[in-house]
Structures are given as structure tokens and as C-alpha cells.
């Protein structure tokens, strides 16, 4: 899969298994590539039967949308470094510190616009620092960003003194997160906009091609003239900015935030990206459409289960299982890449 941090291993190529008529059918239907969509449809039918009065409503659509918007943004942020073969474990912590920073700056009297801008810049700076550690110093991205996320968590506590921040801010900021547009919560539209841009960049530009090439074989990429250091650095800056954007949207959505808000977003986002890598294109690369399918799938499942009376810890369980399942699927898809 393209998320290895060990580019030096000499990969002996995909391992083949016997292809019976059963798995040929699977391939014909694209069940592998579109399994997410099938499972999603199945979940909808399931919950429509289990909890018909509450599940099949417009408010369900709104809730799932609102719940998955921020997760989508974090997952989209992750796609960029993952495509380049890097992990950014700090992206959720960036979200966390951005969510408190944007409120704190406004509490200090800055306008919403300036506060948002400064917070995005802060995200870029943190991403640049990650990039420096990974690209210049040469620390494994997994380790560097793990360390960074701990530093950022401490930073978020320092900003809030451990208190909950409630927005005493111009209502313009809060309506940015809480209104609806064309029937859907605004955050959903932000996620859609970011997804559209990212889709274009990853699928339609040479920059996207370079990212995936680096994820595929970094030394070969360097030798075909790709400025691998630049691309890798830029990918971490991008995830920093998008992580900060997710934090801003979250703060606006909640009208409040606290220092420990970030970490909970890491696992769902990673699950979505890895599960998404097995979807739509089915070539094991982190991709935008697959990721969105995965986010919505996970959000629908969790929301439906909660409606059906499942306990609150179900979401952790669901995301964890999805992550493991995603990686298993990716490995299997890799074996059958032919």
C-alpha cells in the first residue's frame, strides 16, 4: 500500500492468489472498489427497518452531515501527506489548538476575519515545522508528528488554562458554523469545497501525480526530476493549514471549544483515509472520493447505531474496526492488483 514509511524495502511485488469464478464476479461488479457504497446502502436499509420513524428524516441527513463535516476536513487534510507516503499524526492536535486559538484571539478583541486568518497561518507554521523535522532533519514522519501532537496538546492547554472556552464572539463567526445553506449545514459546504479543490489537485494536476509518485517510490521519483523534498514539505504544510481550518469550523459549529477537543478526530480521519484508499479507484492510494465515501459510511453507521440505542462508546468501536478492516482490505486489494 502507498502508506509505507519504509521506502527502502525491496518489494517483491503483489502476491497472487488463485482467481476462482467467485472472485471474478466480485471484480466484475466492482464489489471491491465500490464495497463502501454497497455497505452504505445496506446500512441505510438496515436502519430504515430498525428505526424507521427517526432514521428516515431530513434531520438525520443534517446530523450526519454536521457530524461528518469536520471529520471530512481532517481526513482530507490527511490525504495529502499520506499520498506522499508520510503520516501526519499531528493533524488532530492542530485542529485542537486551532479551535481554541481562533476563539481566544477573538476574545482578545480581534475581528473574526483576522482571527481566522491568523489561525490558518498558525496551522501553516506548525505544518512547516513538521516539514522541517521530516524533510530537513530526516526524522520519520510518524515519530516527528507524534511528538508534535503532544507539544500542541500542551500548547492548547496553555491557551485555555484547561478551561472550556465559550465563544463571546461576534455572532458572524458562530453563524459561519451553524447556519444552513440549501438545506445542509454550512460546514458540509466547506468540506465539499475543500474536497473539490483537493480532488482537482490530486487527480488532475501534475502536482498530484508527483505526490502519488513519491508515495510509490521516493528514490525513483527523485531520479525522474521531482523535487521530492519540496513536495513532501508542502504536503505537511497543507495538512497543517487544512487541520487548522477543520479546527476553525469546529469552533464555529460548537460556539465553544476546549483544550482536549482534538485527539478524538485522529482515528476516524485515519480510518476514513485508509478505508477510502480501497474505494472508487481501488488502487490502494489515498484519494478524495474514496475518503468521502468512507467518512459518510462511518458517520451513517455510528449515527444509526446510536439512534437504535447503542451505547455511546459504539463510535470508538466502529472506527477502530473500520481502521483494521480498511487495512486488511487494502492488503487484499494489493495482492489482487492485476
Amino acid at each position: 500500500m502507498s502508506i509505507t514509511t519504509e521506502p527502502t524495502a525491496i518489494d517483491p511485488g503483489p502476491r497472487q492468489t488463485a482467481v476462482g469464478s467467485g472472485s471474478r464476479l466480485v471484480r466484475r461488479l466492482g464489489i471491491g472498489r465500490f464495497s463502501g457504497i454497497y455497505v452504505w446502502a445496506l446500512l441505510i436499509v438496515l436502519f430504515a427497518v430498525l428505526v424507521p420513524e427517526t432514521f428516515l428524516t431530513a434531520s438525520t441527513v443534517r446530523s450526519i452531515g454536521a457530524n461528518s463535516a469536520v471529520t471530512s476536513l481532517v481526513a482530507l487534510a490527511l490525504i495529502v501527506p499520506v499520498a506522499c507516503g508520510l503520516f501526519d499524526l499531528s493533524v488532530a492536535a492542530i485542529l485542537g489548538i486551532a479551535a481554541v486559538l481562533v476563539l481566544d484571539l477573538q476574545a482578545r478583541g480581534l475581528s473574526a476575519g483576522i482571527a481566522v486568518l491568523l489561525t490558518l497561518v498558525a496551522g501553516a507554521v506548525i505544518g512547516a515545522f513538521n516539514g522541517f523535522l521530516v524533510v530537513k532533519v530526516g526524522i520519520d514522519s510518524f515519530i516527528a508528528t507524534l511528538g508534535m501532537s503532544s507539544v500542541l496538546a500542551a500548547g492548547a492547554f496553555a491557551v485555555t488554562n484547561g478551561n472550556q472556552l465559550v465563544a463571546q464572539v461576534p455572532s458572524t463567526f458562530v453563524t459561519l458554523g451553524q447556519g444552513t445553506l440549501l438545506g445542509l449545514p454550512r460546514p458540509v459546504w466547506y468540506a465539499v469545497a475543500v474536497a473539490a479543490v483537493l480532488y482537482y489537485v490530486t487527480e488532475r494536476t501534475t502536482a498530484g501525480r508527483y505526490m502519488y509518485a513519491i508515495g510509490g517510490n521516493i528514490e525513483a521519483s527523485r531520479l525522474v526530476g521531482i523535487r521530492v523534498d519540496r513536495v513532501r514539505f508542502a504536503s505537511l504544510v497543507t495538512s497543517g493549514v487544512l487541520g487548522a481550518l477543520a479546527g476553525i469550523v469546529l469552533a464555529a459549529q460548537l460556539g465553544a471549544s476546549s483544550a482536549d477537543i482534538g485527539p478524538a478526530y485522529l482515528l476516524p480521519a485515519f480510518s476514513a483515509v485508509l478505508l477510502g484508499a480501497t474505494q472508487i479507484k481501488g488502487n490502494g492510494r489515498a484519494n478524495v472520493l474514496g475518503t468521502l465515501v468512507a467518512v459518510v459510511l462511518l458517520a451513517t453507521g455510528i449515527f444509526g447505531l446510536q439512534l437504535a440505542g447503542a451505547p455511546i462508546f459504539i463510535s470508538g468501536l466502529f472506527n477502530g474496526v473500520a481502521l483494521i478492516l480498511a487495512v486488511s482490505l487494502a492488503l487484499r486489494a494489493n495482492r489482487q492488483a492485476a
Partner: protein, 522 residues
């Protein structure tokens, strides 16, 4: 198809249990059958060559034996008379099969010592500490037996191609927990210069003398005649013949491989009167010291030398892949070392020798591997067009006769020789001013080799300056108007056309004979 069970060269062993007995081996990928009821029988102590064009199924057969591919139903494999169903590497290992795979299957981040223990353990209990000093000594002995003396603690990724080959061979033949019965070598010589091939053959013969059956795959037919007693030929996934080598000559063997008669072209000598395009002055780095070299437009210059001579470092230095001392200029403008992007912008292209680690993106499709050298060619109105990419790729696959001609196929599914053609096409596509080729025809069959040589000449004919570093002296003799022979990092001879492969071999060896260690450094 049915094939006569000829055990060429081993008539005396008629009644004994074969060391390896493969019956109707078949393999289907998706809907494509790449191996068709292949029968193969090897007696103990038999040295058999396996030949066939690129994509004829040789590596697939090997990977089935190794438990890497699951064969189709009906395939039966017996080792030493015992039926085995290799479904993972451990099973074939225990049955007594040993492999040197085409891609060597080494772990780049681990040292030689560590790689030697992979798959067979380190000679102590699972949870016991490793006896490092003993392991190191054994590793040095194992590679020493092949005539190599490199640092066994270095990560394998930093070793040269032939050093890695030696390591993979050493790993296969060194003692394991089960008795070895069959040794399979998939193109072990693709990256080895002549003298080292001889060393390897010495070792292979000793293995054979110990009663182990050897299956040896190579595109170098002279090696087949040197080493093997008998040869099996695959064509399009079918077993077409097994003959004692004594009954064949090179031409008849080639005809068996391709299924029709062939004519081989003699090289056209490019004229070298044109202006200098590529120029290196006092270029030093790796094992190369102060190399001066001018290459004119349309000229093809060869670099020869045994391992350690500096030959293996020249390509990456010329191209500017790594930081180096000295200067390289293209059309007079200097190329900053360590900046491949700048080299490429100046019109250079590099085909590296280590295909798996330095050239291909295995999981990406063939078209992507081709277009990555300049993806912006396929941008129209701000957006990359897959359709244009596939079209262009299909054209190149046709031009270089890559099989199958399917640009959407993942590169990992191509046979070694076909993958090599794709990497070459990646650069030919850009019509470069300078092409630096390191082992350009490694793993390529005779017919395809001629194709590639013609492409290289064609590029030169259009004014490209070409540097070919190769351990294949036939190839250098065929292509080059001039060959530089290196020894101990320095130029020791320059040969001008007409050159024969023997001249080059002699020049390479002359150097090793005349200089004793620690002798003069200019």
C-alpha cells in the same frame, strides 16, 4: 501440451527419483493464462538452463515453486519424490527448494548479515540473543566464497547491484535447516560483469557437484552453453523443448525460443564528428576518481569495468544523481550535482541499473510510469487527461514491443524485461539531448535486446549523446563507437571501433592482473 520427458545430459540417471518433478504447471492471472501445462524434471546433480523470451513465464514458474504464486488446479510438484503443495515460502524451503529471485528479494534497510538470516533463522533459538560476531564472520565467509569483500553491516540498499546479487546467492546456498535439493537462479547474472559471472559459475558447479539440482535462468545464451548440461525452453507459457546443450548451437536455441528463424544485425557505427554535448571534467565520487569524458552529439560511448572499478558509479555521477566533485556540462552549461531535476531540465535522462529500487513505481500503472518523466505533456486546459496518457503509452508499448500492450496494467504485473523497456521509453519519449544508461538491457531477451539497441541507435541518430555503462561486453561492442575501460576508479584504457567483446574483456582483466592492491594512485 504434452512434452517428451527428456532429461538431457543425465541419461545415466534414468531410474533414480528426480530431484524436482513438475507436472502440468499452469497459472492464470485474471483471464490470461501465462503458463500452460509445463512439465519439468530435474535429476539430482543436474544443471539445467531455462530460457525463453521476455514474458514467456520463466519467473512465474519460479514463483510457483517458491510458493509465491498459487498455481492453477492440476499443477503437481514433487521434490525428491515427495509431493509438495507450496502455498507459502516456508513449505518450499522445508521441501529443499532454494531461490535467487529475479528481484533478489532482499530487504534494503537491513544489513547483509541480517538479510542472510531471513527465512532461515540465525542459528539460535527464536528467543535467544543473536551471536553477532559469529554471524558477521559467517556472512563474510559466505560472500567471500563468491569473491566479494564488502562491509556486511551496511544496509543492503547501499550496496551495488552485483554485490546484492552475490548476497542473494550466498543466502540461497548457505546452510539451512533443511537439506537443499534444488537451487533455482532467476537471472542471477543480469547485473554481473564477466569475471564475477565466472566466480558465480564456479560456485554453482560446486553446488551441483554436491548433488543438488540447479535450474538456471538467463538471457545470456553463451552462459547457457558454458554452464548447463541441458536446456528447457518456454515459449508463450508453454514448454516447447528440453535438449542437451550439446545438440544445440546459439542459432538453433534462439529459434526454439522465438519459434521462427532470426537474423541478427551487426552494429552500425555512429560517426563521431559532431559537436560535444556532454562533457565531464575531473569527475569524482563513489569509487570514481577524476574521470574526463566528452561525448559528441550522436555518439554512443561505453563504460566497462569489473565491479569495484568505478563502472557502477559512473552513470549516477554523469547524470548528477548524487553530490560529486568535478564538473559536468551539457552544451557548455554546468549541471549542479545532486539535482536530478536540473539535469533533466538540461536535457538529460537516466536509466538506473537498480530497476526495482530506483526506477519503477510498482503499484502504478504502465502509463503513469511512462508519463512521470514529464506529466505536463498530458495537461490540456489545466487538467491532466488520462486518455491522452493512455494513447501515448499505447504508442510506446507498440514501438518497443512491450507485452502485454496494456497501458492500464500495474507495472508490477510486467515481466522484468518488459518493465525495463517501459523505463527506457520513459526517457525516449522526451527526446533527450543526453541519455545515461546503466545496464540498459538487463533482463531483456535476445530479440528485445536488439530492439532496444536499435532504439538507442535511433536516439543517437537524432543527435542524442549516449553513455552506456554495462557489464555486457557484447552489448558495448555492438553499440559503442568508443569504450572507456575503468579500473580502480581510473580510466585504464580507451578502445575505439571496431571493438570486439573479447577486446573489452581483455582490457577489463588486464587492469586487475597488472595492479596489485595498494599500488599506485596517480
Amino acid at each position: 501440451m504434452s512434452s517428451p520427458d527428456l532429461r538431457g545430459g543425465t541419461a545415466g540417471n534414468g531410474g533414480a527419483t528426480p530431484a524436482l518433478d513438475v507436472r502440468s504447471a499452469s497459472k492464470t492471472f485474471g483471464s490470461i493464462r501465462v503458463l500452460h501445462d509445463v512439465d519439468l524434471t530435474l535429476a539430482a546433480g543436474e544443471l539445467r538452463a531455462l530460457v525463453g523470451e521476455n514474458g514467456s513465464g520463466k519467473s512465474t514458474l519460479v514463483k510457483i515453486l517458491a510458493g509465491y504464486h498459487m498455481p492453477d488446479e492440476g499443477t503437481r510438484i514433487a521434490v525428491g519424490g515427495r509431493e509438495v503443495a507450496p502455498h507459502h515460502a516456508g513449505v518450499s524451503e522445508t521441501a529443499g527448494l532454494r531461490f535467487v529471485h529475479q528481484d533478489l528479494a532482499l530487504v534494503g534497510a537491513l544489513s547483509s548479515v541480517e538479510n542472510l538470516g531471513l527465512g532461515r533463522g540465525y542459528g539460535n533459538g527464536r528467543m535467544r540473543p543473536l551471536a553477532w560476531s559469529r554471524l558477521r564472520r559467517e556472512a563474510r565467509e559466505a560472500i567471500g566464497e563468491l569473491g566479494y569483500h564488502f562491509d556486511v553491516d551496511r544496509p543492503v540498499a547501499t550496496l551495488g547491484a552485483s554485490e546484492r546479487t552475490a548476497l542473494a546467492v550466498a543466502r540461497a546456498v548457505s546452510p539451512h535447516t533443511s537439506t537443499a535439493r534444488v537451487l533455482v537462479l532467476d537471472e542471477p547474472t543480469a547485473n554481473l560483469p564477466g569475471p564475477e559471472v565466472e566466480q558465480l559459475f564456479g560456485l554453482v558447479r560446486r553446488v551441483r557437484d554436491a548433488g543438488i539440482a540447479v535450474l538456471f535462468i538467463s538471457h545470456h545464451l553463451n552462459e547457457v552453453f558454458d554452464l548447463a548440461e541441458s536446456v528447457s525452453v518456454l515459449r508463450g507459457g508453454e514448454h516447447v523443448a528440453t535438449r542437451p546443450v550439446a545438440e544445440l548451437d546459439e542459432t538453433s536455441l534462439i529459434e526454439l525460443m522465438v519459434g521462427h528463424s532470426v537474423e541478427r544485425h551487426a552494429g552500425r557505427r555512429p560517426s563521431a564528428a559532431a559537436a560535444t554535448v556532454l562533457s565531464a571534467q575531473r569527475l569524482s565520487g563513489g569509487s570514481v576518481q577524476r574521470l574526463d569524458l566528452d561525448v559528441a552529439a550522436g555518439e554512443i560511448v561505453g563504460i566497462a569495468g569489473i565491479t569495484g572499478s568505478g563502472r557502477e558509479a559512473v552513470a549516477s555521477l554523469m547524470f548528477g544523481a548524487e553530490p560529486a566533485a568535478g564538473t559536468v556540462t551539457v552544451n557548455g552549461s554546468p549541471i549542479p550535482p545532486g539535482r536530478p531535476d536540473a539535469s533533466i531540465a538540461a536535457g538529460m535522462g537516466l536509466v538506473p541499473a537498480e530497476r526495482a529500487t530506483k526506477a519503477v513505481m510498482l503499484g502504478h500503472d504502465v502509463a503513469e510510469n511512462l508519463s512521470i518523466s514529464r506529466p505536463k505533456d498530458f495537461v490540456r486546459r489545466g487538467s491532466m487527461r488520462r486518455r491522452l496518457e493512455y494513447q501515448a503509452a499505447a504508442g510506446w508499448l507498440e514501438k518497443l514491443d512491450v507485452r502485454p500492450r496494456e497501458p492500464r496494467m500495474p507495472l508490477a504485473a510486467l515481466s522484468g524485461g518488459n518493465a525495463q523497456k517501459v523505463i527506457l521509453a520513459r526517457w525516449l519519449r522526451l527526446q533527450p539531448k543526453v541519455l545515461v544508461l546503466d545496464e540498459p538491457t538487463q533482463g531483456v531477451d535476445v530479440g528485445a535486446k536488439e530492439d532496444i539497441h536499435q532504439r538507442i541507435e535511433e536516439a543517437a541518430g537524432q543527435g542524442c549523446a549516449v553513455v552506456v555503462c554495462s557489464t555486457d561486453n557484447e552489448e558495448l561492442a555492438r553499440l559503442c563507437g568508443r569504450v572507456i575501460v575503468l579500473g580502480r576508479g581510473l580510466e585504464t584504457a580507451q578502445l575505439a571501433a571496431p571493438i570486439s567483446a573479447d577486446d573489452i574483456t581483455a582490457a577489463c582483466l588486464a587492469d586487475t592482473r597488472e595492479r596489485s592492491p595498494r599500488e599506485h594512485h596517480h
